[in-house]
């Protein structure tokens, strides 16, 4: 007998719980914003410019000694971080001022310094990004996020109705802010890969919302006399097995990436997992219930009549 993660015919009052959900959502959003304001993001070299080197040592080096060693090279203040294993250290340095070739000199200095201090070390990865390029990367990253959101709003507006667009975008903004808050909290490095993760979260969360919106639209047409509240409850409950099943499956796939995958994508996978949880939450509790607050009514409302026409076409 196949297993059912969610029992058949659930009847959970999501709409009734919406004020608690809204309060929680606002709290999460404000909390994330506060974290972003106070702690800020640990921006990677992609966004602030600078130099990163991943170095593998024969034995785990004491971090304080290593920091003192790097700082003594006169290449600016370093930030050290374990990367995946205690033997792998990520060294962050500010981008040197001055003419070209300055970066190479810093890289060479650090390489020689570490080789003389620690014997056999392996330089696994070096990245340097100039301030100008990093500014452009920030810009293109922000554009990509904003444009995706705008496209989403436009699509949902055309395909559904304006209030679906509004509720979806509100929920998406929440998802993005909470994800950013997570990065502010954990101080995991925020780089270009994470922007890709944020975009994916938008895409995934969207998927969830479209599925539920689709069902709401269908039920609005099917049960013409029912109130909007029960229709939303019915729709969310009907799609609940799918919502949970998909999230669980994806989380399983991502968990294997997180635990077994390369260290370089740790932050990326962590962001996605969190995003999926947050996105699922906002799909179930926030975006659909928000439709009521946006003043959507069943049957009598002209907007809904409009929606029907769209569906019937």
């Amino acid at each position: 007998m196949p297993l059912k993660i969610i029992p058949d015919n659930t009847n959970i009052g999501f709409v009734r719980a919406r004020f608690i959900a809204f309060a929680l959502t606002i709290a999460l959003t404000l909390g994330s914003l506060a974290l972003l304001y106070t702690r800020g993001l640990n921006l990677g070299v992609d966004f602030v410019g600078g130099l990163t080197m991943e170095v593998e040592f024969k034995a785990p080096p004491p971090l304080d000694a290593l920091r003192a060693k790097v700082d003594s090279l006169g290449v600016g203040t370093s930030a050290l971080q374990e990367f995946g294993s205690p033997r792998n250290i990520l060294i962050r340095l500010p981008l040197p001022e001055g003419e070209q070739g300055a970066v190479q000199k810093v890289v060479a200095k650090v390489q020689n310094g570490l080789k003389s201090g620690y014997g056999e070390v392996m330089f696994r990865r070096t990245e340097s990004v100039s301030g100008k390029v990093s500014a452009e990367l920030i810009e293109s990253g922000i554009w990509a996020v904003l444009l995706s959101m705008a496209a989403v709003a436009l699509f949902t507006w055309i395909r559904f109705e304006w209030y679906f667009g509004v509720s979806t975008v509100v929920a998406l903004v929440h998802d993005v802010i909470v994800t950013l808050g997570f990065f502010a909290l954990t101080q995991l490095e925020f780089d270009l890969n994470i922007v890709a993760a944020v975009l994916t979260i938008i895409g995934y969360s969207l998927n969830d919302k479209v599925v539920i919106d689709d069902r709401i639209r269908e039920n609005l047409r099917k049960y013409r006399t029912m109130d909007i509240g029960p229709i939303i409850d019915l729709s969310v409950n009907e799609t609940l097995p799918r919502t949970v099943m998909t999230s669980v499956t994806l989380l399983a796939a991502l968990a294997s990436m997180l635990l077994l995958g390369p260290d370089v994508i740790f932050g990326f996978t962590a962001a996605m997992m969190l995003g999926i949880v947050v996105g699922t939450y906002s799909s179930i509790f926030v975006s659909s219930s928000l439709l009521i607050s946006l003043g959507v009514k069943s049957r009598a409302a002209p907007e809904v009549a409009n929606a029907e026409r769209v569906v019937r076409r």
Binding site: N9, T126, A144, L192, A196, A197, T249, A252, A253
Partner: protein
């Protein structure tokens, strides 16, 4: 929904066949793939530098430099043109360049028309409408001529300089003997260089960071030593730094420059220390011979990128068209200079603005970890799907595996690059594919609960879910395309896999699963469907 006409079955089979065909070379070794007959697809998936190891450099040319160089050339041209005006050279004074303009005062206002006409002839037309030219010649007052660079002219010369720079870089990198470098222009004034498998980019950067402009200039022997030390050059001369300290006054005009070099090799000077030999082409050789014959006994300076390497005396005319540059070189630095001279000078100075180097062992680790994680992810998803949906779960798993192979096939065949974020995109695609099947299966369950029979339930389940799947995936495609257009680097790699994956996953998760389901339903005619 469950009817499949024969042609549909065949086109599904054909799609899968071709996908597998294009994916197949990835399961062979490189040698095996290379030995395949030419009509069989043999392209293997190209891996990004983050996976295979290598260096990625982004170089930027300063557009101001291009302007400046262009203006300098213009100055030279103007001088020589005015000397050759029909009816006698036009005398001028007060020649100055600033802010993209060159202005001069013609001594004899009566000759101004002749001068303007001569100068207009040297301006170059720029392709396009309106007959725009690269330089505008205007007259201010009755004796001043102003030459202004037009924006189109500057853009064209930047374009030109970048195209040349790409060629020079290609030559220099080829000299390093590295495998399949990628050198592409990006935007107006950038060049991205990717060299796989290169762990230490220092040599590469040393090669790319130098302009290698070689000039031979006469030393201004009449210059006053105190004036030179103070940095004041006599008219027609300039002060250049010496490589081993100090500075020297040389004539502005080069007697010959490195453009006419045909070859350059590492050799030894008379003391047996490493040096660099060079050879001019026949015209260059003749000019070099001429110049040295005219200046026997005088010192001349060998100038590289604005620094004087050495300033030997011309003891006798150098007739063979070849020479040797000696200085304090090691074999390595001499070799580097030889390569630089062989490949020609960069038309513009390039700066490294972004560098990403991944050691090959890290790349290998990433591939290994990524592959293991992807396999475990597929296994975990398969386990959940089969446990929850039984037979239909098995169909989804088959579709999932076909999906991964199709993505591999499309990426290999179309020559896309798989990067680390791409692997993550693959995982997400697996999610999307699973989601489609979950939607379908949950719909079928719902219909069954409503008391519908097996076939109608499956029919309605597919029909209703498909609409939702299309809605959701068209949105995802939109987001992926935006990521591809506006994202940079890793985001692009991710977007590529996602876009391909969404297309293939809709095909496999909806169409292929439906085909398998309908085959089974019509053959077995089950009275109960356990799902």
């Amino acid at each position: 929904m469950l009817d499949f006409p024969q042609w549909k079955v065949w086109s599904i089979a054909a799609t899968i066949f071709f996908g597998f065909l294009f994916a197949a070379p990835n399961f062979l070794t490189e040698q095996q793939a290379a030995s395949l007959p030419s009509w069989v697809p043999s392209k293997q998936l190209s891996l990004g530098l983050d996976l295979r190891g290598g260096s990625h450099l982004m170089l930027e040319a300063s557009t101001d430099d291009v302007r400046k160089t262009k203006l300098e050339t213009l100055e030279e041209t103007v001088r020589s043109e005015l000397r050759q005006v029909p009816g006698g050279a036009v005398a001028f004074t007060d020649m100055s360049t600033s802010g993209g303009q060159l202005s001069l005062v013609v001594t004899d206002p009566a000759r101004i028309d002749a001068a303007v006409e001569a100068l207009r002839k040297v301006t170059q037309p720029i392709g396009g409408l309106g007959g725009a030219r690269d330089v505008e010649v205007t007259v201010a007052g009755d004796s001043r001529i102003v030459l202004t660079e037009t924006d189109a002219g500057v853009a064209a010369s930047i374009d030109n300089a970048m195209a040349q720079a790409v060629e020079v870089i290609r030559k220099r990198i080829d000299e390093l003997g590295t495998r399949e470098p990628t050198i592409v222009r990006q935007g107006q004034n950038r060049i991205v260089v990717q060299v796989p498998g290169l762990q230490d980019p220092a040599a590469l950067k040393a090669l790319l960071g130098k302009t290698a402009k070689l000039e031979f200039k006469l030393v201004d022997v009449n210059a006053d030593a105190a004036e030179v030390a103070a940095g004041r050059a006599p008219p027609g001369s300039q002060i250049l730094p010496m490589l081993d300290g100090g500075s020297i006054a040389v004539r502005r005009r080069a007697i010959i420059n490195g453009d006419q070099l045909v070859d350059s090799q590492v050799s030894q000077d008379q003391n047996g220390s490493p040096a660099v030999s060079f050879r001019f082409d026949s015209t260059g050789g003749r000019r070099f011979a001429q110049a040295t014959r005219d200046n026997v006994g005088k010192p001349f300076a060998i100038v590289l990128d604005g620094k004087v390497i050495s300033a030997p005396n011309i003891n006798e005319p150098i007739l063979g068209g070849s020479g040797i540059i000696s200085g304090s070189y090691t074999v390595a630095t001499a070799n580097e200079l030889a390569i630089l001279l062989r490949s020609g000078k960069l038309p513009v100075e390039l700066k490294v603005v972004e560098e990403r180097t991944v050691g090959p062992d890290l790349g290998a680790d990433s591939i290994r970890a990524g592959t293991i994680a992807a396999i475990v992810a597929v296994l975990a998803v398969s386990l959940i799907m089969v446990t929850v949906y039984g037979r239909f779960g098995v169909y989804s798993v088959i579709a999932l595996i076909v999906n991964v192979i199709l993505i591999l096939g499309v990426m290999s065949g179309a020559g896309f690059t798989l990067t680390l974020p791409g692997i993550a995109g693959l995982v997400l695609t697996i999610g999307a594919a699973v989601d489609a099947n979950v939607l379908i299966n949950e719909r079928i369950r719902e219909e069954q609960r409503k008391g519908r029979g097996v076939i109608p339930s499956v029919e309605v389940g597919f029909r209703d879910a498909t609409r939702t799947i299309w809605d959701a995936n068209s949105l995802n495609i939109i987001v992926a395309v935006i990521m591809f257009i506006f994202g940079s680097g890793p985001i692009k790699g991710f977007a590529v896999v996602l876009s391909i994956g969404i297309a293939t996953s809709v095909f496999t998760a909806v169409t292929l699963v439906r085909l398998m389901a309908s085959r089974w339903l019509f053959k077995a005619r089950p009275s109960v469907l356990v799902i």
